[in-house]
Symmetry: C2
Subunit: 141 residues, 2 copies
DNA sequence: TATTGTTATACTCTATAACTATA
DNA sequence: TATAGTTATAGAGTATAACAATA
């Protein structure tokens, strides 16, 4: 692999990450559409691996809480998610994935991995290298 | 860095890439909003580094050509982009960035790099490593 | 008073289909 | 006939502001 001039390394990686993001968006949206989900519905379903209130979903989706109402409405109409009262705080509605919702989510994750435009192009050693780099890059602390 | 069981490596990397994608989306949308651009307008402006017809933008944005009309309308109203006739094929409209559009695009790229949630967390050696990996992962061939 | 979630509103993005003008 | 772009339409995502119920 060729070296990149030091000053422009960040710029080169930024362009790559932009391209990566675009390809992933296309892939994720395609998988969502194959399961009759809009992009936002698929992201909401992804984050509902564990039950949580509406507000938490808004945080994870980086959108206004008022939007979550409509997104969850459509998931609920399809029977993938349920709104349940929270006995500890009756202002809150807990979101719980139904059995069918869990099946759709599993299938989504399977399809995301199978046709992944990035993972498919790297051998196991490279995947491990990427995993270690991303573990550092994504660390919370 | 800890090893990941071979069978689940792809799955682990897939989850990381999903998280990476979400953080980048938040960052890119924030930069776009700081320049009074919607996410799609910012992506269109990014791809107009060189003049190109409407259809090409639709391809790059992975959306229907009919959507590009509205997105470009709003960029043109703001004076960031111009539609020009193409003498070689009079059905086509060539999109050209104005001087102001180029300035906004430059500022966008600068802000994307400066506050980048991934690049900021990696040292130069790690950035070079990520660059080489992504060069392979994104290769067209 | 503050917080959770909803409703109302207006704007943007989205795909589909029908259209115009060129080729 | 086929292609580039537009218009029309309807559904979905978006932020803002006002609201009800609860804390």
């Amino acid at each position: 692999m060729e070296d990149v001039e030091e000053g422009s390394l960040g710029s080169a990686v930024s362009r790559q990450l932009f391209a990566l993001w675009g390809r992933m968006r296309a892939h994720l949206d395609e998988v969502a559409a194959s399961l009759d989900l809009t992009p936002m519905q698929s992201r909401a379903l992804h984050h509902l691996g564990a039950p949580c209130p509406m507000g938490d979903v808004a945080d994870r989706l980086h959108c206004d809480p008022s939007n979550v109402t409509g997104i969850v409405d459509r998931l609920e109409e399809r029977g993938l998610v349920e709104r349940r009262p929270d006995p500890e705080d009756r202002r809150r509605r807990m979101l719980v994935t139904t059995r069918e919702g869990a099946e759709v989510r599993e299938q989504m994750h399977r399809r995301i991995i199978e046709g992944h435009p990035i993972i498919q192009r790297l051998d196991l050693a490279e995947q491990q290298q990427l995993h270690d780099l991303l573990a550092r890059a994504l660390a919370e602390d």
